[in-house]
């Protein structure tokens, strides 16, 4: 255990602070990092990569900053951005970039990583289907090889951001006769390929966040596959692992917690800030302990990663606990606002542009998306604790 900040890190922190002070005003607002297509976000992200505050450890040849992994520097960057309330950078789509770096060909790494981390290439994830949600491996969208092209037919659903995406990474069945986990391939292709139709689906927040995505004779060059034919399930699991890491990210939890404290300090009942009411304060403190413990858990995972050790349970729980915690923070914010907490859209008296109301709902979506809480518990039970799987029955 050695978290002491020596000279090098003290200097580094000062550099980050100076950068933030000078550039804070050009940072875009809002919580989303990746998946945002506007110019302001792109310019900001590119500035961050240039200074090594985003895509920091991605090799230079693929468009990253190319620094050696250094937990403390990552920590300092995240911390200073959170303290300054400035949107942090990202390392591209966290579901895709690590997979390309790990399993992609040299050509794919060169073609995909750079544009993705710069924000010039935006991705969507085509996994879920109307009949295949938690039981993803039962998916039935199929791709048949005709000459040098895959021909894809079928339907995806809940495809977040498909309406704005340039590219999709998509699971399709290519070996219909193989057992279900061994018949899937991981294809990547452009969203403007003929035969793709995207129909937005409105969510409970009132926005169209996700979509139905239909494929009719969509033709994709044969080499636009990651991993080998029939190995898509294992490639996808690699991405799910990274997605779990990013959903429930402790730096985001910390930022959220800071806004929550601000809310309790600024909202008043009978002229008295809510943070002075012991009952609300106690709920805040309970959440703080959880946020801090997730922050420490995150540092532990980071250390394990840099030493190539498997973090085990520490990693398995992040999605489940992090998403739940986000939701509970939003819930407290809503309760603190009381009746003001149900105002919506462009109502007067809205606090923080209705951010908490929106988060309260969105966070519930994230408890469900990316593997539901129940599926997370199955995985923790079976893979981390070694409990036996549910016996299989014929259809009930």
């Amino acid at each position: 255990m050695d978290l002491a900040y020596n000279e090098e890190y003290v200097e580094f922190r000062a550099e980050v602070q100076a950068f933030l002070k000078a550039n804070k005003s050009s940072a875009p607002k809002g919580r989303m990092g990746w998946g945002q297509a506007d110019d302001k976000s792109r310019t900001w992200q590119q500035l961050l990569i240039k200074h090594g505050y985003a895509a920091r450890t991605i090799p230079k040849e693929y468009g990253g900053f190319g620094a050696e992994p250094d937990i403390l520097k990552n920590h300092i960057i995240a911390e200073e951005f959170a303290i300054a309330g400035v949107r942090p950078g990202h390392s591209g789509d966290p579901r895709l970039v690590p997979v390309v770096l790990e399993l992609g060909t040299e050509e794919q790494k060169h073609a995909l990583v750079g544009p993705t981390i710069r924000g010039d290439m935006v991705w969507c994830q085509g996994y879920s289907e109307p009949g295949s949600g938690s039981d993803l491996a039962s998916l039935s969208t199929k791709a048949v090889l005709e000459g040098d092209e895959w021909v894809i037919n079928g339907q995806k659903i809940w495809t977040s951001g498909a309406q704005h995406a340039d590219m999709i990474f998509c699971l399709v069945r290519t070996e219909p006769d193989a057992p279900k986990h061994q018949g899937i391939s991981y294809l990547i292709f452009k969203m403007d390929t003929p035969g793709i139709e995207v129909r937005p689906l409105v969510t409970m927040t009132g926005e169209a966040i996700f979509n139905e995505t239909f494929f009719t004779d969509v033709r994709v060059p044969k080499d636009q596959i990651i991993g080998r034919r029939g190995e898509g399930w294992f490639v996808a699991n690699a991405t799910l692992k990274h997605e779990r890491g990013s959903l429930g990210d402790p730096n985001q939890l910390e930022g959220r917690f800071r806004s929550l404290v601000e809310m309790l300090k600024s909202e008043k009942i009978d002229g008295k800030p809510l943070i002075e009411f012991p009952i609300y304060r106690d709920r805040l403190l309970k959440l703080q302990a959880r946020v801090l413990s997730m922050k420490c858990n995150g540092m532990r995972i980071l250390t394990a990663n840099t030493k190539n050790e498997e973090p085990g349970l520490a990693r398995w729980i992040v999605k489940l606990l992090g998403c739940e915690l986000n939701h509970q923070m939003a819930a407290l914010a809503i309760d603190v606002m009381g009746e003001l907490g149900v105002l919506y859209e462009d109502s007067p008296y809205l606090r923080n542009y209705g951010m908490w109301q929106r988060n309260y709902m969105l966070d519930l979506g994230l408890i469900i998306g990316g593997g539901t809480a129940q599926i997370q518990k199955n995985m923790i039970g079976e893979r981390a604790l070694g409990l036996p799987k549910e016996p299989k029955y014929d259809a009930i």
Partner: protein, 361 residues
């Protein structure tokens, strides 16, 4: 630069756990509990040979000179084994008080003895956190009068450190005139707390604690951190036992761990507990290395582990069905240890209020 245990710390943890598994197994614990022995002499002696009593005492005073993370690993191991030994009060809180506020003479007189296992200290500071009726200590011309309840490790102590109502800390000899001790029976038979009544008892102040509450607060912080680590160890073993039982016990022709209701109880325990480990590592590391954050982290460790501990203690018992509720299985020793840890040195609600105050809220 890393957030992990060092090789030495892993070895320390390993050697203590191995020692306790063989010398302080459930049979030994049960035997002690049934005979109302709160200090297993052989185990205490064995731990002494491993250097445990002097773990945080500087080498100049014949201690081992390690830090609070090392101490927390020991507390965790003791919690895993529900070991009946006076570690938290005598080996941690008393040395912290002496190191923070003792005169050079006092340090020379007592720290080497603590490190050698020649003396056991009880520590009575609870009244400074929450004073119940008829308790409290007044000092007058070097004499103490009043009552200190829930004196940690007070049952087996030869010496005491007691806080007066102003937060000053005093050394008191248990055998001095005007000192009466009564053992308080608690749910947890693996550790004991005493009530100390003082009637003009001779006492020697720790000079650094006069007009400065910091030594008292440091002593409380250290105790809380160790209680949190003790709970971590106890909860960890309750989770392990639940998982092992769920893999072996069969009902409806299946092992019960294949039922989602049971699997999810285990997953929820693991999910709640795992980040607590990192929280305690960080808090313990902070004591010497990030002192600005230490008190807040310690408060949160104690309060949060109390909540998670209670959840795990209840859930693990449920996973064991009726067997979990029996004396025979012995699971209740951990259940009760977690229960005592929660209330000692401040229940979670009180501690969270302090955590708020630390932040100016």
């Amino acid at each position: 630069m890393e957030f992990a245990l060092s090789e030495e710390q892993r070895l320390l943890q390993d050697s203590i756990c191995r020692y306790l598994e063989s010398e302080c197994n459930l049979d030994r614990v049960r035997e002690a509990a049934e005979n109302n022995v709160t200090q297993q002499a052989e185990v205490w002696q064995g731990l002494s040979e491993l250097g445990i009593q002097g773990i945080i005492i500087p080498e100049e005073q014949a201690g081992v000179g390690l830090g609070f993370l090392d101490a927390a690993l020991v507390a965790e191991a003791l919690g895993r084994s529900v070991a009946p030994v006076p570690f938290i009060g005598s080996s941690i809180m008393a040395p912290v008080a002496l190191m923070a506020a003792g005169s050079d003479d006092q340090k020379e007189a007592w720290l080497p003895k603590i490190a050698a296992g020649d003396v056991v200290f009880g520590v009575g500071v609870t009244e400074q956190i929450a004073q119940r009726e008829t308790t409290g200590i007044k000092s007058d011309g070097g004499k103490l009068t009043g009552k200190a309840m829930f004196v940690i490790d007070g049952v087996d102590a030869n010496m005491l450190i007691i806080a007066d109502d102003d937060g000053a800390l005093y050394l008191v000899d248990v055998n001095a005139a005007g000192v009466t001790r009564q053992n308080l029976k608690t749910i947890d038979k693996t550790r004991a707390v005493a009530e100390i009544v003082l009637e003009g008892a001779a006492a020697e102040v720790l000079p650094g604690s006069q007009n400065d509450r910091e030594p008292l607060l440091k002593t409380i912080d250290a105790g809380r951190l160790m209680l949190a680590a003790d709970t971590l160890g106890a909860a960890d073993i309750m989770l392990e036992k639940a998982v092992a039982y769920a893999k072996e016990r069969k009902q409806f022709d299946r092992v019960i761990g294949s039922f989602q209701a049971v699997k999810h109880m285990c997953a929820e325990m693991a999910t709640e507990l795992e980040p607590c480990r990192s929280l305690i590592w960080y808090a313990a590391h902070a004591v010497y290395d990030i002192p600005d954050e230490a008190r807040l982290l310690t408060c949160h460790s104690k309060a949060h582990l109390s909540e998670v501990g209670r959840f795990v203690a209840k859930t693990s018992t449920e996973v064991h069905g009726g067997m979990g509720f029996t004396d025979l299985l012995g699971l209740h020793y951990w259940f009760k240890r977690i229960g005592l840890d929660r209330q000692l040195l401040g229940a979670p609600e009180l501690i969270r209020e302090q955590a708020a105050a630390v932040q100016g809220w």
